[in-house]
Amino acid sequence: MAVRVNIEKIEDGMVLNEPVLNKHGQILLGKDIELKSKHIRILKSWNVQFVYIKKNDVSSENKTVISKELLKMAVLDLKKIIKWIPENKYEVNLINACVKFNVLKSK
């Protein structure tokens, strides 16, 4: 799993989940490269705005285990404003991402 990280939030040691391409599709940095400060400097000079990082490398917040109770509360809360049932993979991903984000934020 990957997560999109703003160039300003990249930390030393994060690992690229996908190669960084320029607008012509040429590879600037390959997949699985462990980012060092020199890479970050170069990415900035190329005006790269974000990169996809392997999720395990994203700082502690995303590693937090979410309790079932909190998840249940977040889902119940959303049911007040969502009166439809997710019917496809996109809608499921949309709702799950929002629930997860809100639970992590409330911690």
Binding site: L78, K83, E87, Y90, N93, L94, N96, A97, C98, N102
Partner: protein, 285 residues
């Protein structure tokens, strides 16, 4: 509870609403002249100090990603381009017209702008991920997608607040309450004002059709992206009023956008960060 069924009342009131500030028309004159240089364009923008400073800040924000490397309006024009600057001027000018709208009852214009800024930021990010290359108008269309709500509020605040209270009490969509109570919806009136302001046809269509997500059955990525961005904002409770109901996405929109399956899981944090940054830049004087 029907308040107004006469559409002509709204048409008359729209005529009385302000036109876009001079900076916009002067800017358009300069841009349409093929001999104009980035410096000429910068000179026009610099006459409006507050617009100039906002454009500078936004150019350096994560929306465009220049992070402090743009230090003058001339640079902003050359780096992000005439089209992007034009769309930022439209957004800033229109926000300025409504800056004095005050909160009454359940309706807070500041919350409406927050929802619009969120939609603008998310529309742009969704648009890029959907592979669309021409995304210059995505931001301004997101900012303006519910301008009609502000117009309805400005024309008759009391009736509009009653409409929102009706929507909340009956747990229905705002647009449906508008149709039932006022006899007109924010999407229709939004298109009217966009016409009065001579905004590009693509932006007018986005204002009119974003709630469906399709424009006359066409595969229009901008209309589709706003549709999803707006729904995302409402789920995140960045809404115009408390407990605003979330419409169901139009299934056809997903096929138009062709986003990765896990798009929201991967991008939500990035969208939220970009939104907080833009909200501070655009709403602070």
């Amino acid at each position: 509870m029907k308040i107004n069924k006469n559409i002509n009342t709204y048409l008359d009131k729209i005529k009385e609403l302000p036109t876009l500030p001079t900076i916009y028309s002067t800017f358009m004159d300069v841009v349409s002249n093929p001999r104009s240089t980035a410096q000429d364009v910068a000179d026009v923008i610099s006459q409006d100090q507050s617009a100039a400073s906002k454009i500078l800040k936004i150019s350096n924000s994560s929306i465009y990603g220049f992070y402090g490397r743009i230090s003058s309006i001339t640079q902003a024009v050359s780096f992000i381009g005439f089209e992007e600057v034009k769309n930022l001027i439209i957004s800033i000018s229109i926000m300025k017209i409504f800056k004095d709208s005050k909160q009454i009852g359940a309706f807070n214009p500041v919350n409406l702008w927050k929802h619009s800024i969120f939609t603008a930021v998310a529309t742009r990010i969704i648009g890029k991920s959907s592979g669309e290359r021409k995304i210059e108008e995505f931001f301004v269309a997101g900012i303006l997608h519910q301008i009609g709500k502000l117009i309805l509020y400005k024309i008759d605040p009391e009736s509009y607040i009653k409409t929102i209270e009706y929507a909340r009490y009956n747990n229905i969509l705002c647009k449906d309450a508008e149709q039932e109570i006022l006899g007109i919806t924010y999407t229709v009136i939004g298109e009217m004002i966009a016409e009065k302001w001579n905004l590009p046809a693509s932006v007018r269509n986005a204002i009119r059709y974003h709630h469906i997500g399709l424009y006359e059955g066409e595969k229009n990525k901008m209309v589709a992206a706003i549709h999803i961005a707006k729904i995302l904002g409402l789920i995140m409770k960045i809404n115009s009023y408390e407990n605003e109901l979330v419409p169901k996405p139009n299934a056809a929109v997903w096929e138009i956008l062709e986003l990765p399956e896990n798009f929201f899981e991967i991008n939500l944090e990035y969208i939220m960060q970009s939104y907080y940054e833009s909200e501070t830049l655009l709403l602070k004087n």
